[in-house]
């Protein structure tokens, strides 16, 4: 039996499941809400593709590509990026906390150039307010604040180039009344 924590990148979400091999083949997966899913068979096809056979003969094709500890997952109706960690009793991280942290960080969603800064350090900003305009792929993109708060850091200056994931600004949340 394996206890696994699935971390989805988008939408950010964490789910813990238990996977147990069944005698006679297949797996039984326990979900946190008590539900169970039976995976009867996993046919490995070429190029990272699988055919998953579920109870009742239902079939689902999936494709997996591993990139380090990330898994790029294809299913017919949507694609996912996830990480899978085994976990025991130790080292439990509350996923909510980890996510709060990231909230005030505004990172470059793509490589580009900072065209225009609309705020300064110390400015109070509303959620959704435009912080700066980024130019990438010949288009302008407005970078907005993920929350209501104060601009505590503003690394980017106008005209500079940024890489994917570079810190553009840090917004410290304002305490709501």
């Amino acid at each position: 039996m394996a206890r696994l924590r699935i971390r989805l990148e988008k939408p950010a979400r964490t789910v813990e499941v238990e996977v147990a091999a069944r005698t006679g083949g297949g797996w039984q997966v326990h979900l946190p809400d008590g539900d169970e899913v039976l995976v009867e068979e996993l046919l490995s096809l070429e190029q990272g593709s699988f055919l998953v056979r579920l109870a009742g003969g239902r079939q689902l094709p999936i494709t997996l590509v591993r990139q380090g500890d990330r898994w790029l997952v294809w299913t017919p109706d949507f694609d996912l990026v996830l990480r899978l960690e085994p976990f025991g009793e130790e080292g439990r991280v509350e996923p909510e906390e980890a996510r709060e942290d990231a909230h005030g960080r505004v990172e470059a969603p793509m490589p580009g150039k900072v065209l225009e800064l609309r705020v300064r350090v110390g400015d109070e900003v509303e959620r959704g307010e435009v912080l700066m305009v980024l130019e990438a792929m010949k288009m302008e993109h407005q970078i907005t604040s993920p929350l209501r708060g104060v601009v505590t850091e503003l690394v980017a200056e106008e005209g500079i180039s940024v890489e994917l994931g570079d810190l553009l600004a840090e917004i410290t949340p304002l305490n709501e009344e």
Binding site: V17, S49, D77, D79, L80, P86
Partner: protein, 501 residues
């Protein structure tokens, strides 16, 4: 004509090569250093080098492209779409070098490129244009306000030099006008170096319907049907179809007459598109602009006509006289553009490397793509991955075929709009043909994409699948080896470890 230089890249370069081959013409492709091993470059008979650097030194470098065409003994140039395709200076330079430009004549190209002049020409030819006015130089805000009120709110401010939604502002009342004017001018100045703007009446929830025209150099003009391209995001099309589900026989006749008289009036030659906005309030089509090139969505027309538009372009450029039967579409065709972009974050491009890229093979679905597994979607260019174009007997079966093709398309490594398109094609209003250019906003499809959750059952299945494949490979994932969030995509060492089942 024996040898053609393709001044373009990606799927359209590959698509042009296909026709050149069929016609027994040699294809020479001008490729930047990054594109030297691309599928398009590999498919050509010859590759000539544009070198490295930004666009102005590669695909927008007129001098270099003409020089390469001459050096490689080409006798014609096909510009594709985008880049220099509608640039009169480029067309002129090609002609002055003694080569054939596969596109419209210089005067038609110039007229099509000027919003003011093309609107004037259309009005004179009896084609409705959206009512509006250009503020005179030095005209006061007060005066502009009065004229806007006369026109009637809501109004739309647009940049004279504009395009792509830059310098564009919708204004719903007199009070909003001054600020919107200042904003639009500033944006236009920044984007085009020209702050001039004009105002026109805003049509609420219009439909975008365009007419494909081809004209030879002997005065023969033909209509190759219409395409409805109302499904747009960021003012750019993502789903296009022909015929339009809106048009009745009577409406179609009227629209084709507008397109033909407009194109005839400006002496248009070669393939081109007249774009219209349809106002549901007034039941009228308004001229929007002329696209003096082959369009991204041209395959839709090819599937319902059985014609090859690139071949027609070449035949016109050779001076042939065209003879085409009256327009009679065969069935229905719909194109969906698969982009490396993230619908949930407002359709931001998502450049990166394609770690998987596979398309289904269905007889009724055409796939136009210029990338493959391992290709890099570069932030320099349009993040188009592929166009999937389905052809069916009727609209419902075409939608079903396209949706199924998208459900069998595997692209991993970048965020794509694949699942967004799958949902969009199933939307009841799309299925019913109730389209408008604000379809995505009106139905909050972006918000829905952002909120979309993964069924827990799917997560359970994935956990079992990944776990079992890991057990085959190694006992467990090494602990404490969490990698930095963003660094994974570009790291070649990781790629080498790329797991295969």
């Amino acid at each position: 004509m024996k040898r053609v230089l393709i001044a373009n890249r990606g799927e359209i370069a590959l698509r042009i090569i296909r026709t050149l081959r069929r016609l027994g013409l040699e294809a020479v492709i001008a490729a930047s250093d990054d594109d030297l091993t691309s599928p398009a470059a590999r498919a050509a008979d010859r590759v000539v080098r544009l070198g490295a650097g930004d666009l102005s030194s590669t695909y927008l470098n007129i001098e270099r492209l003409v020089e390469l065409a001459r050096e490689s003994a080409c006798d014609a140039v096909h510009p594709g779409y985008g880049f220099l395709s509608e640039n009169p200076t480029f067309a002129q330079a090609v002609r002055e070098a003694g080569l054939t430009f596969i596109g419209p004549n210089p005067e038609a190209l110039r007229l099509s490129g000027s919003k003011t002049e093309s609107r004037r020409a259309m009005r004179q030819a009896g084609v409705p244009v959206i009512p509006g006015f250009h503020p005179a130089e030095g005209e006061s805000e007060q005066e502009i306000c009065e004229r806007a009120s006369e026109l009637g709110f809501p109004v739309l401010i647009k940049a004279v030099a504009g395009g792509g939604g830059k310098g564009m502002r919708a204004v719903y009342s007199e009070e909003e006008l001054p600020e919107a004017l200042a904003g639009a001018r500033r944006e236009a100045e920044n984007a085009f170096g020209d702050p001039r703007i004009y105002l026109e009446k805003l049509i609420t929830s219009p439909r975008h319907i365009e007419v494909q025209v081809v004209a030879d150099e002997h005065g023969n003009l033909f209509v190759l049907g219409e395409r409805e391209c109302s499904i747009q995001r960021r003012h750019q099309k993502i789903v296009e179809e022909s015929p339009s589900p809106l048009l009745t026989h009577f409406m179609r006749e009227k629209l084709f007459t507008y397109a033909l008289s407009g194109m005839r009036a400006i002496g248009y030659t070669n393939a081109g598109t007249v774009e219209f906005l349809y106002s549901p309030q007034e039941d009228e089509f308004y001229f929007l602009e002329i696209n003096a090139r082959l369009q991204v969505e041209h395959p839709v027309t090819e599937l319902v006509s059985g014609l090859d538009l690139v071949e027609l372009q070449i035949r016109v450029a050779r001076g042939e006289k065209l003879s085409l039967p009256p327009w009679q579409p065969r069935g229905h065709a719909i194109e969906a553009r698969l982009y490396a972009e993230d619908p949930a974050s407002g359709f931001l491009p998502s450049p990166g490397k394609l770690s998987a890229c596979r398309f289904p093979h269905h007889p009724q679905v055409r796939i136009d793509t210029g990338v493959e597994e391992g290709s890099q979607i570069s932030p320099l260019y349009d993040p188009l991955i592929a166009k999937l174009i389905a052809h069916g007997e009727d609209r419902p079966s075409t939608i079903a075929a396209l949706r199924q093709a998208l459900r069998e398309t595997v692209v991993l490594g970048v965020t794509t709009n694949r699942s967004f398109l799958i949902d969009l094609l199933a939307h009841p209003d799309f299925v019913a043909g109730h389209l408008s250019v604000d379809f995505i906003e009106r139905h909050k499809l972006r918000e829905r994409a952002a909120e979309q959750d993964v069924p827990p059952e799917m997560l359970a299945i994935l956990a079992a699948a990944i776990n079992s494949s890991l057990e085959e490979e190694e006992p467990a994932i090494p602990k404490g080896e969490m990698m930095p969030e963003r660094a994974t995509i570009a790291d070649p060492w990781r790629e080498l470890r790329g797991w295969r089942g």
